[in-house]
Amino acid sequence: MTEANVEEKVNAPRLKPEGPWKIAWKRFKKNKIAVVGGVSFILIVLAVIIIPMIYAFNLWRDVEGVTTGQLIRETVNVDLRAQEFQLANSEQPPSRENLLGTDRQGRDVMFRLFYGGRISMMVGVLSAFLTVTLGTLVGGVAGYYGGKIDAFLMRFAEIVQSIPFLPMMMVISAAMRWVPSEQTMLVVVFVVGILSWPGLSRVVRGQILSLREQEFMQATEILGISDTSRIVRHLLPNVLAYIIVSATLGMGGAILLEAGLSFLGLGVSPPMPSWGNMIQTARNSTVFQSYPWIWVPPGMMIMFTVISVNLLGEGLRDAFDPKEIR
């Protein structure tokens, strides 16, 4: 090999390999259905944030002597005066002032629909976050340390998984009825979180067990990198894809669970609206038969939200999974 030849080789443009995130993003973009899911999910999030603000803004704009600063503050905080009972105005069918009519207490259903959406979405996000944190923690520790710790944690996960899910959630929520009504959503987050982590913890453990044996992990051991850094910087990024996907899908599941629990009267308690407890009003036969605008829209919102979350989650799973070729 001549010197010139070597020179040429060295100067040849180096092909920068694409990172796994970039590949996943490319694959995700190609998946039209998943993009639709993602976009509609973002739209729903924006709607539940902005629409209650518009209501608050309209309410405060007409108040005499309100300063601009106050107006902005009240708009961002969403004043719950829009929630006050107006019994004279109850059970009005949809009209121009109340696009979705009013409920039994005369409150505007449209406002409650989107304000309740905030609660339901929040329950979804927080529950998914709690589930993922617990699952990753338990699975990570079990997989990394192995041995007795692994055996103990996995046995524990198995036991939690054998607990009947919905019945236990009902009982725990019932046992926590002392929580003030504004915070009942946190109770739902708590019960969903502490009962749903085992599934993910098993996946994370399995992944970490197999990763631990691979060469790059042996290299980190030889280099004497600390345990924390090995877990956080070298192991976790490799299981992140699983975690993101299961967080997304778990969020949809949590929204459905909130709806179910609230429907049974064991979830978010009124007057705080949530999609679940708005449907609960249908258990009253008059509301059910004569005022469908009170309970149908929240059910529809749940369906749209969960569909878009599921589409997004499945799209992400396909994007991250190198084996899936369509």
């Binding site: 009902m170 009825r177 179910g260 429907f263 449907i279 059910f288 059910g299 749940i302 969960v306």
Partner: protein, 326 residues
């Protein structure tokens, strides 16, 4: 195989003990006075007598002792008494369980009868019109709260078709007077089952079609299917004789998962349709704070779930000899 089975059954005992202990601890946080529940709401008894009963029930003992006392009673077959049904808890559970079973077994049979052919057809023409339709269908199915779907069905159909009852299990007048014949009994219950079974079938269908489809797709890509095709066998024979039989195996192995659903599923639907099943018993127990009833029902649910897991494991071992190693 027998050793495997024996070992698994022995493992059930500590699992059930821990779960029941967990349930016991959670229930200790539930509001509700067991003495009052024992005596019946509104009964007036002198404080001295109340204290006597408290002593008798062992409620003055510390929690671990109470648990052991409960365990002892259960071992003797005594689950306690329930006030809301004014009967022994065991009688209530075994009385209502069959009502739940009745709903779920029909739903399962219908769902399987539809899901298997639909799943196969979707798999054979992957991403075809038929497949895409059922993909959307199952997505909507898993994304809609079942109780909301039920409410919509009642709202749309049962109001307009008067021979479909809205809820309940029997026509009250007929049930009180007594049925004239067995046939009348069957048709009356049957009419009441139409709506709940429809909803349950649709929701189980959503997951079962996906499951069958994916399982068949996996088999179709195997080498022996290509061999069968290249032998010149008819496509029908290839699919139904060679592919389907093997695709059925994983379907059989999820049989275990159905056990808890068969007896205990559909708490929300039983609430919507006022169906007198075990889910209603649990909810009634929770709302009227009848602790011995709730405790027994929950343990019963847990037992179903644990047995279901065992069946899943065992059938997995039967279907796939490689699993039986340990």
């Amino acid at each position: 195989m027998l050793r495997f089975l024996g070992k698994r059954i022995l493992q059930l005992i500590p699992t059930m003990l821990i779960i029941s202990l967990l349930i016991f601890i959670v229930l200790d946080f539930m509001p509700g006075d067991q003495v009052q529940a024992y005596l019946g709401v509104g009964s007036e008894v002198s404080p001295a007598r109340q204290e006597q009963i408290r002593e008798q029930l062992g409620l003055n003992e510390p929690l671990p002792v109470q648990y052991l006392l409960w365990l002892g009673r259960v071992a003797r077959g005594d689950l306690g008494r329930t006030n809301i049904y004014n009967a022994d808890v065991s009688d209530v559970i075994f009385g209502f369980i069959w009502n739940s079973f009745l709903l779920n077994i029909f739903a399962l049979i219908f769902a399987l009868l539809i899901a298997i052919p639909v799943g196969i057809k979707s798999a054979v023409k992957k991403y075809g019109l038929f497949d895409n339709f059922f993909t959307v269908f199952s997505l909507a199915g898993v994304s809609m709260p079942t109780f909301f779907f039920a409410l919509i069905l009642i709202f749309l159909f049962a109001r307009n078709i008067d021979w479909i009852p809205l809820n309940g299990m029997r026509t009250p007048i007929m049930a009180v007077r007594g049925y004239e014949s067995l046939w009348q009994n069957i048709t009356d219950v049957g009419r009441h089952m139409i709506l709940p079974v429809t909803v349950l079938t649709m929701t189980s269908l959503a997951t079962l079609t996906r499951y069958t489809r994916n399982s068949v797709i996996e088999v179709i890509n195997q080498d022996y299917i290509r061999t069968a095709r290249s032998k010149g066998l008819k496509e029908k024979v290839v699919i139904y004789k060679h592919a389907f039989r093997n695709a059925l195996l994983p379907l059989i192995t999820i049989l275990g998962m159905w056990v808890p659903a068969l007896f205990g599923g559909a708490i929300l639907l039983e609430t919507v349709f006022l169906w007198p099943g075990i889910g209603r018993v649990l909810l009634n127990g929770i709302t009227s704070q009848d602790l011995s009833l709730v405790m027994a029902t929950l343990v019963f649910y847990a037992l179903l779930r644990v047995i279901g897991n065992l069946l899943a494991d065992v059938s997995y071992g039967l279907a796939d000899p490689r699993v039986r190693v340990k």
